[in-house]
Each structure stands twice: as C-alpha cells, then as structure tokens.
C-alpha cells in the first residue's frame, strides 16, 4: 500500500462536480422560477446516476490498470449523458414555450 494515495482526489473532484451541478440547477430553477415536472426530474436523476457510474468507472479503471476501459466508459456513458442533458433542456424549453 502506498503511504499516500491520491486516488481519493479524483473521487472528491467527481463529488464536487456533481454537487456543483446540483447547486447550479437549484439556483437557476429558483432564479427563473421554473418548476420541473416529474419526467424532467426523472431524466435529471437518470443523467446524474449515469454520470456517477461513468466517473467511478473512469477512475477505477485507471486504478485497475485498464486505461482503454477508462476511456471507453467516457464514450459509452458520456454520449447518453449529453443526449439526456440536451433532451431535457429541449423538453423544458418546449414545455415552457407552450405554457407562455
């Protein structure tokens, strides 16, 4: 075992990014007075879960000495995350446009 392992740093960074994203979402929704409906929350939670899984797989795969698996996890899980984010934004915008 190493005297000092820096792997924890990447997990903390992963957590900060997740927490920062959550705070940003909360502040933005409050500022713009937007109330999300259940399926939009579902998509956001789903995206967050995939993000956690992607981050954990990315970091852990390097730890396992599997760099190819690490980069592939970014592709295979990063693309769905992008699709979910883009899809959610479009859903929210179209719903708000219909309401206004």
């Amino acid at each position: 075992m190493r005297y000092i392992s820096w792997v924890w740093f990447w997990y903390v960074l992963l957590g900060f990014l997740l927490g920062g994203g959550a705070v940003y979402l909360w502040v933005t929704l409050r500022e713009k007075a937007v109330n999300l409906v259940w399926y939009e929350w579902t998509l956001i939670v789903l995206g967050a879960l995939i993000y956690i899984l992607m981050g954990q797989t990315f970091i852990a795969s390097f730890g396992e000495g599997q760099s190819q698996a690490a980069w592939m996890s970014l592709i295979f899980m990063g693309i769905p995350i992008i699709l979910i984010v883009v899809g959610s934004l479009r859903l929210i915008k179209s719903r708000l446009a219909k309401q206004s």
Binding site: G65, Q66, M72
Partner: protein, 480 residues
C-alpha cells in the same frame, strides 16, 4: 533490457471508500465499521455478519450444479498419477517420448529466454518464481494424510501449544452444523481461505474422491503407502471443507510472473492446509488430506460446494474471481458442517456464448463447441480425464504441450475470462448482474469486454512498478 510501459498495480480505493467519499454511504460506512471493528474473541467474530457467506443477490443457490452430471456413470479419477504430469499417462512408448520432448522443449526455451534476458522471463523473474515455489515444489510443506504430525513440547515458551481437548481434559468442541460452519469460515479466512464451501460425503460425492482413497471400518483413517491407498473411516459422517486459494490477478497478467503468482498460491495452499488441520485437531476432530492432489477433484468439489460454476476451459469460474484462483483446497473432517449448495449465476450459460478463453487460447486446446457434451472417447483412451460430466472437455495434451513446452508459461484462460476482474469498478458487478438475469445480453457483453480492452497482456516486466504499489505478499487483497 527494454523498458516496458509504466504499469500500475490495483488501486487501493475500494468501492466502499468510493461510497464514503461521495458522502452517499451511510450503509457503507456502517458496513465498513462492522468490517473493521474490533472483536473481543472468536465467538464475537463468529456472531458477526463477517462470518456469513456473502453471495451477491444475483447468485442463486440451486439444488443441482449448472453442469449436468450423470452420477450413475460418473467415473472415479484414480489418482494424480493418471494426470499428464506423469509420462506414463501419455500412452505407451510414443507417449513417453512426446512427454520427454515437451520437457526438453521447456528446458531449451527457458534457458534461451534467461540467456537472452527476455523481459518477464529473465534470470530475476525465474528466481522469483522459484522462490515462491518454496513450500510447494521440491520443498513441499503440505501435511501428510493425517498430519501435520506435530506434538506439543513442554519446553516451549508456550508449553500448551498444540494441546487438544485430551490434554486439557475437556470434551471436544460441540456446536450445531451452522455454528461449526461459521467458526470454520472465520478460521479459514484468517488462515488463508478466500472463500469456503462444505460438501457432505455421500454416495454421489464420494465419486469425486480419488480412486486411491478407500473406506474401511476403522475408528480413525490412515495412510497406507504399501497399498498406495489413503483410508477414511466408514462409520462416520464426513464433510469436505473446500477452500478457495486465491492468486494475484495483477501478477498473473504479466508473463513469467504468472509462475510466481501460481507457485505462491500453491505454497499458501500447503500452509493453509497445515493450519486448518491443526485447528481441527485443536477442536478434537479428525482431518484428512495433504497436498493439493491428495483428496479428490478440486473442480468437482468446488462446483458442488457452490464456490463456482463449471466453465468452458474445464475449470471453475467463480462469481468473484472468475477463473483467476489457483485451486480449491480440500480437507476431509468429521466436524459436522452445514453444507453449501451449488450456485447458478448464469456463468455456465455465459460460457456458451462467450468463448473468449477458447479464442485466445494459443494452443487451441479449449473447446469451441457452443454446447456441452458427454465424454465420447473409448474407455481408457484418455486416462487423464474422467467421464460422467456433460461439459466442455479440453484437449489436455495440447494445453500441456504448449504450457510446459516450447512456449513456456501460459495463463490466457485465467486472465481473459470476463469474470476475472478487479473489483474497483462498480460496472463489473452490473455486468455480472446482467449475465445472471438477462442472458439475452451475453453476446453484447462479450463484445463490449473486447471493446473495453479487457484481457490484454498487462506488460512484460512487472519490475518497473513502484514497490509500494504491490500488495503485501503480492496478493490483491481487494478481490479476496
């Protein structure tokens, strides 16, 4: 010597650490406290969940193994003398010559590698593997059939060391089979068993014992070298303690160091065997078995004990270790134990689709048939294999000839198996859950395993790693 790429040993951050760091793991923290918490004595340790056999929820206990066995026609394997390690098992004069050629090929190839300082097969790699042989090879410390033959010594610093109930004047330890199993599991973990299962010897499972083990109406078993038999008492209920002996996945992924990992595991198996038998003696119970080849078929007992399923390369595939564990060490005892049942985690079914070991096997020894089949060779034609199992039978001579012949050292079937993974990435567990519950995705999982780059050789020289990255004893404890 050429410098290989920077290599990494397994991360020391486990999934539990990950959960803690993210602040999501109240349960994980509680579990971690429980795992690491101090125990006042063995009773307290036995009473804790640590002593339970924890199988993931996607591993089901089943009444019969996932491989078909015909117990009526099941052949008893005579003894290790019938294995391909014995030149006489190769069949006649031509067979002996074939064996001798392989031996000579091995000597020539290893010598050439050492003389040419081939990374991974240089003198220092060879020396390390030889060092790990101590305890297993020519210096075997495996106990005798009824051993280890140790006696207490009143002049020792601890004069009661190796005392049993008869010395203390107390009855032998008594517990229910469940209590005994938990106790043995706790002791086993401390003594070197990564996992344990228990099989009761009955008319079926006795067929998994080697043919040179006989039952007689005696109070205590014994070894009879003159008759070449080992004797078990016929008038007792007997159980087989089946212990998984782990090996380093990291070291196994390097070339020559597979031998280092392999031999180290056998040496640990011999040490474990001495210790678990001394433990049983201390409780007042009988125990039989010595080296790895003294009791019976490791795969058969391992499958019946639910430690693994039968896999394509003809060896066990465990939900936790894949094919990457050295052996299941067998110890026969009259201590009543709660039997563990075979398991179904979808592994044998996955082997039908996957075939990665067969495709990667450089000798072509592993079957590429999709379905298992009953042994169809004529009686006596392949004395190194026993009939009675519907499985994937390997071409053992091809395997032996390659592994020990001109291309020394092969570990492909144990490193490329999609189940042979470290346990840091949560994704591995999700994949195993899918294999267990959604076999329709098996083909996709196999393809993704390739796409993600699993099963590639890890490098040729493990000497480049930071020594502090190497787990103590070289064993990746995160997997065990």
């Amino acid at each position: 010597m050429s410098k290989s790429r920077k290599t990494h040993y397994h991360s020391t951050v486990s999934r539990r650490d990950f959960m803690k760091i993210l602040g999501m793991g109240a349960f994980a923290t509680a579990g971690g406290t429980l795992m690491n918490g101090p125990f006042k004595d063995l009773d307290e340790m036995m009473a804790s969940p640590v002593a339970d056999r924890k199988m993931p929820f996607w591993v089901k206990e089943v009444d019969e193994p996932t491989v078909k066995i015909d117990w009526d026609t099941m052949e008893v394997f005579p003894h290790l003398g019938n294995s391909l390690f014995n030149p006489n098992a190769w069949g006649g004069e031509a067979g002996v010559k074939e064996w001798m050629d392989i031996q000579q090929g091995n000597i020539d190839a290893v010598t050439e590698s050492v003389r040419n300082n081939v990374p991974g097969q240089s003198l220092k790699d060879h020396a390390l593997a030889d060092a790990q042989c101590w305890g297993w090879g020519p210096t075997a410390v495996a106990p005798s059939w009824t051993g280890p033959d140790t006696e207490p010594n009143p002049m020792w610093e601890h004069p009661t060391m190796l005392w049993g109930p008869e010395h203390f004047g107390v009855p032998k330890y008594e517990g229910t089979p469940d209590e005994n199993s938990r106790m043995v599991r706790v002791a086993g973990r401390i003594l070197g068993a990564a996992d344990m299962g228990f099989v009761k010897l009955d008319e079926r499972t006795k067929k998994l014992l080697y043919g040179n083990i006989v039952f007689e109406d005696v109070e205590k078993g014994y070894d009879d070298p003159e008759r070449h038999v080992s004797v078990l008492p016929n008038n007792k209920d007997l159980w087989v303690i089946c212990a998984v002996i782990p090996q380093s996945l990291n070291e196994y992924g390097y070339r020559r160091s597979w031998a280092n990992s392999n031999t180290a595991a056998y040496s640990r198996a011999a040490i474990y065997s001495n210790r678990i038998k001394t433990f049983l003696s201390g409780l007042g119970y009988q125990h039989y078995g010595g080296g790895t080849g003294s009791v019976g078929r490791a795969v058969g007992f391992g499958v019946m004990a639910g430690l693994a399923e039968y896999g394509r390369p003809g060896i066990m595939v465990s939900p936790q270790y894949g094919t990457n564990f050295r052996t299941v060490m067998l110890t026969v005892t009259d201590l009543p134990l709660a039997v563990t049942k075979p398991i179904d985690a979808g592994i044998s079914n996955f082997c039908r689709t996957c075939q990665k070991c067969a495709e990667m096997c450089p000798s072509g020894a592993i079957s590429t048939n999709k379905e298992t089949q009953w042994a169809d060779w004529a009686d006596g034609e392949q004395p190194w294999q026993a009939k009675g199992l519907k499985g994937w039978y390997i071409d053992a001579k091809k395997c032996y000839g390659y592994m020990l012949g001109n291309e020394p050292d092969c570990n492909m079937c144990q490193t490329v198996c999609p189940f042979s993974k470290f346990d840091s990435a949560v994704m591995h567990d999700l994949v195993k859950m899918s294999i267990s519950s959604t076999p329709v995705l098996n083909n996709t999982i196999r393809k993704l395993d390739d796409t993600f780059g699993y099963g590639k050789e890890r490098g040729t020289d493990m000497w480049d790693v930071d020594p502090m990255d190497i787990p103590l004893w070289g064993l990746d404890t995160s997997r065990s």
